[in-house]
């Protein structure tokens, strides 16, 4: 048995480019999530249940639901994203993965961008896919449902990006869930306003390109700026523990 027979050692991580590292983080998060499928399902069930509460609690009349359906769906989507954020860093924080992530030679904000993107694919995207069904249940017409899905498609990544800042700030704290909501809900307001505003404008027959462009601007801002804040927050939370 000679030395050549040993399996070759994988290249050290500094040889992996930033994109490679992002891909690895993304793939890992998706794989881990699919091993705990129930966690993926919970925000979706929550989404459906919150939407159900409105016809029960306010009014099942078609006129009311037609008028407020988009708002109800948006609020419900916002709340279920909020609910799922606690998981974004928690498990990795508990088992020490997060510290390894911080120690990587690649910039932390890129890795967080990948993690947040995975979070969106696992929670935001399913919400968008589920929205048409619930849209039919609240009596929205076809055009409104299409526009609603489009706004959710642009808006939910913003929710994930901003939410990651809150999740990083509250990492390892007592009652982090409630605190996270307190910190993040005010920052979600512009997305909510424009998300529902777009659908309302579409229902009145007004052009929606301008609204969608503004939401796109939010998305660009969130993707470019939020990971830096999340990275800074994460370093602070880790130095605290």
């Amino acid at each position: 048995m000679n030395a050549d027979a040993r399996p070759s050692v994988k290249p050290v991580s500094s040889a992996v480019g930033p994109l490679g590292a992002m891909g690895a983080v993304f793939a890992r998060d998706v794989r881990v999530a699919f091993r705990q499928r129930q966690d993926l399902l919970n925000p979706l069930l929550f989404f459906i249940m919150v939407v159900t509460l409105f016809p029960l609690g306010v009014s099942p009349e078609v006129a009311f639901l037609k008028q407020s359906g988009a708002g109800i769906l948006w609020v419900a989507a916002l709340l279920s994203v909020l609910l799922s954020l606690d998981h974004l860093f928690r498990h990795d924080f508990d088992d020490g993965t997060l510290e390894q992530l911080v120690l990587q030679p690649q910039p932390l904000f890129l890795l967080i961008l990948a993690k947040t993107a995975a979070h969106w694919v696992l929670t935001g995207l399913p919400l968008v896919l589920l929205a048409p069904v619930l849209g039919v249940m609240v009596h929205l017409d076809g055009n409104s449902i299409a526009i609603l899905c489009l706004t959710l498609l642009i808006g939910t990544p913003v929710l994930s990006m901003i939410g990651a800042i809150g999740a990083a700030l509250t990492l390892g704290l007592r009652s982090a869930g409630v605190l996270l909501s307190l910190l993040i809900i005010p920052l979600y307001i512009p997305v909510l306003i424009f998300g529902t505003g777009t659908v309302a404008a579409a229902a009145e027959g007004a052009p929606v390109a301008g609204y969608l462009a503004l939401m796109g601007a939010f998305l660009v801002l969130a993707v470019t700026l939020a990971p830096f804040a999340s990275a800074a927050a994460l370093r602070i939370s880790l130095s605290n523990s």
Binding site: R174, L179, I185, P186, A229
Partner: protein, 247 residues
Amino acid sequence: MWQFFHKLGSPKWFFGIATRFMPWLLAAGAILLMAGVVWGLAFAPKDYLQGNSYRIIFIHVPTAFLAQSIYIMMAFAAVVTLVWRMKLADVFVKSVAPVGLIFTFLSLFTGAVWGKPTWGTWWVWDARLTSMLILLFLYGGAIALDRAINDEKSAARAVAVLVLVGVVNIPIIQYSVEWWNTLHQPSTFKLTEKPSMPAEMWVPLLLSVLGLYCLFGWLACVRMKTEILMREQKTRWVRELIMAERG
């Protein structure tokens, strides 16, 4: 300049300076505020449309001014905290956040009192009211986060990040809410334009705004001094100070 900047980082130096300036701030604040409020409430002319009810402006506008500018000041201090790790900046953010919260609440409250006779309702979901309410939430979040983190340094830096994220968002929130709904009268003061009200009205208003700024300076000093004493209680200068107080 830089020497001044470095000195400012020393809690002990600040403690001395604050002690010396505080009586002046308090006196200036009291005189300006009394002058502004008494002039405004008793001597300024009646508004031709709103009658006497507009007079709450002499309380409402100063508190709203302060509520917003305290958050901006906190954001500057937050940058100093994150970049230069200056202790005094942490102390400032931590000490003035509750003051900002209270001024925001006061401006909302006086606004509601003013809204009842003018608009016929305590609360409307109007753009400026709503963005002040959101500002209240932002203050609340910063205070809650500060209380939740036990380690002083981590708390200060986490709050600094949160305040900066908030200050980036404030214009976005303001514009989106404004676009969403507008009923409030436009701002009374703009830096670039002459005020639209007569001098007998805006001079007392300006006096009370300046007075409240001085009063805020005094309040900030009181709270910061307390915070410094708590944080530095183990240092020699604080012990000597306490011993000297006791005699």
